[in-house]
Symmetry: C2
Subunit: 108 residues, 2 copies
DNA sequence: ATTCTTTATCGTAATATTGCAATAAGACAA
DNA sequence: TTGTCTTATTGCAATATTACGATAAAGAAT
């Protein structure tokens, strides 16, 4: 198969999975970390910062954009990729119950 | 290819990606949500709660275990799968910089 | 010992992902 | 227009993932 059965799960579960999946590759983690630490969002800078070919980085950026974790804005000659605060807030909020749950002692 | 170039990235980046990837499927999200909300960790209960075949759920549990997000303990006749607090704390901690970053105004 | 219950593994088919070279597409400059 | 710079897309090969039936493995119960 290889086809995820999304119908069996809630919209929220699918959305959280989509966020997590988008972050589930070290190159995409590196892109997000770059955008979180640098005051620089130019696509070319990201490509330079990630040790993969331009075509590959572009593909990863597309996946992050599809998941909604980043958004692209035209900035003169190039494109500025920024974090999407709304989506990240939602991501955080959906993880919160588990983050809270692990504060109490484990069951076994 | 289909082969992730992990060598190009830091251990931390790879670990965060592994956590996220493990959570990147609605069935595994559902499993984690079940363990976060129920005081029940018995493998059989998880299988019943997830609308997929037993073999498939077992496979998803294995992936969560490989990533370290859950741990399995023998509990009499069955197996108890619990969240691994240490790993979840690390996961949370690694996401923190981005969660913090989105609190300030976006660059564009 | 045999049977039942519970969980893991194997085998297989279908689909998805990763990576890159080559190339296209778009905006700007001269 | 022609060229240049920046980013996206295409095409392809290699590998990974998803799903499930069948079956194995290990312990409990009879």
């Amino acid at each position: 198969m290889g086809l995820t059965k999304t119908d069996n799960f809630t919209t929220e579960q699918n959305e959280l999975a989509a966020f997590a999946k988008a972050l589930g590759h070290p190159a995409r983690v590196a892109i997000i970390e770059y955008l979180s630490s640098q005051n620089d969002c130019v696509c070319g800078s990201i490509v330079d910062a990630i040790p993969l070919a331009q075509a590959t980085v572009s593909q990863h950026l597309k996946e992050l954009k599809n998941a909604g974790l980043i958004q692209g804005n035209i900035e003169g000659n190039s494109i500025c990729y920024c974090l999407n605060p709304e989506k990240w807030k939602k991501f955080k909020q959906m993880l919160e119950p588990t983050f809270t749950h692990i504060e109490q002692p484990v069951c076994c």
